[in-house]
Symmetry: C2
Subunit: 211 residues, 2 copies
């Protein structure tokens, strides 16, 4: 992990590090970046709608969409790095000594703690991506028609971010020993995936009908 | 358009500009970046498989996957900027004078030319994303099992990149006056979308069965 957040690195440097054999960033961090791009596109649609005479009837709603999209964008941009850090702590715990029963027990406890944290990060990415998908619907329906395809791209990317985050939740759940935690987390992920897939299909239909 | 390619800008700056009311970058540029991330993840899986004893039987195939993924990554990273430039030329042509019949005719010809170029860019993004999705399948099936979720995220992102690029092809086709060109382009896009959706579903099944 570099000392500075990934949002401060160039796109080129991020892609190079993603493609390398370095342990992070991986798919979870990529999910957060794709979610942030979806939020940015919803924000763009609201910015192209606010203050336009033709869209006077939806100004209040667009201002609220803009505010929520910017909030999600800032959170997802942070999660690009948070996911990489959380994965790094799992890798660290795995390297703890396991020679004696005491060491084994301490390592197991540290690993389970790190895995729970590393699972909660992609869960948050998935749930924030679902919020972005919910914002993309009114953006596509009520926002500036000349940016309709951008609202639809936002929905496609929000769904992809949720699907990508779900894979990263799942890979961690395989190692988590608390079935109650695992069951509750996966049920939340399934709710997200059902919702984002439905929103994506709805928004694509609405948009292709306009193009 | 800034003077330097978007790959050289920070993630933060790119997200800020994507979210703004500036005409570009838009959904097409975002599609290229998401496709580049998918290619980077395929490359990562190959890097985590090459040189590992456990995967000696697939070294040659992985080396070829790595080479093709890196080629696609470089192309898609360029297309992040190419799409924005092509869109800028359409916006420029739209601003040409249309006072006299001659001006109208010249503006129409310039606009049609710029639209054809601006359509071919997201078409190339979609077709390159399909190539990445094709590489993700053997990466998921034969690559390092500990990176299985990354190969699946690559498939999800490649499909999303193709869907996002398709929307940007479609919005341009609405303005193109040559029905032969429009028909041929859209048929190629439909082939891509069918293939990437199928590859995504197949790779997700293969991967969830392993996690």
């Amino acid at each position: 992990m570099t000392a500075e957040p990934y949002a401060k690195s160039t796109i080129e440097a991020y892609l190079a590090r993603l493609s390398s054999a370095e342990p992070e960033p991986g798919g979870g961090s990529a999910a957060a970046l794709v979610g942030a791009m979806a939020a940015a596109l919803v924000s763009m649609v609201s910015n192209l709608t606010l203050g336009r005479d033709k869209y006077m009837g939806v100004q209040e709603q667009m201002a609220e969409i803009k505010m929520n999209a910017e909030f999600a964008l800032a959170r997802l941009a942070d999660l690009i790095t948070t996911d990489a850090l959380a994965y790094g702590l799992v890798a660290q715990a795995m390297k703890l000594p396991k020679g004696t029963p005491e060491e084994n027990k301490a390592r197991g406890a540290a690993l389970q703690g790190a895995l729970v944290d590393a699972t909660e990060v992609p869960l948050e990415i998935a749930e924030t991506a679902a919020e972005v998908a919910r914002l993309a619907l009114p953006a596509a329906e009520l926002g500036n028609a000349s940016a309709a395809s951008d609202a639809a791209v936002a929905a496609v990317l929000a769904d992809a971010a949720a699907q990508a985050a779900a894979l990263n939740v799942k890979i961690n759940l395989g190692w988590i020993e608390d079935p109650g935690f695992a069951g509750e987390v996966w049920s939340r992920v399934e709710t997200v995936l059902c919702e984002t897939a439905h929103l994506r299909d709805t928004i694509l239909s609405v948009t292709y009908a306009k193009l």
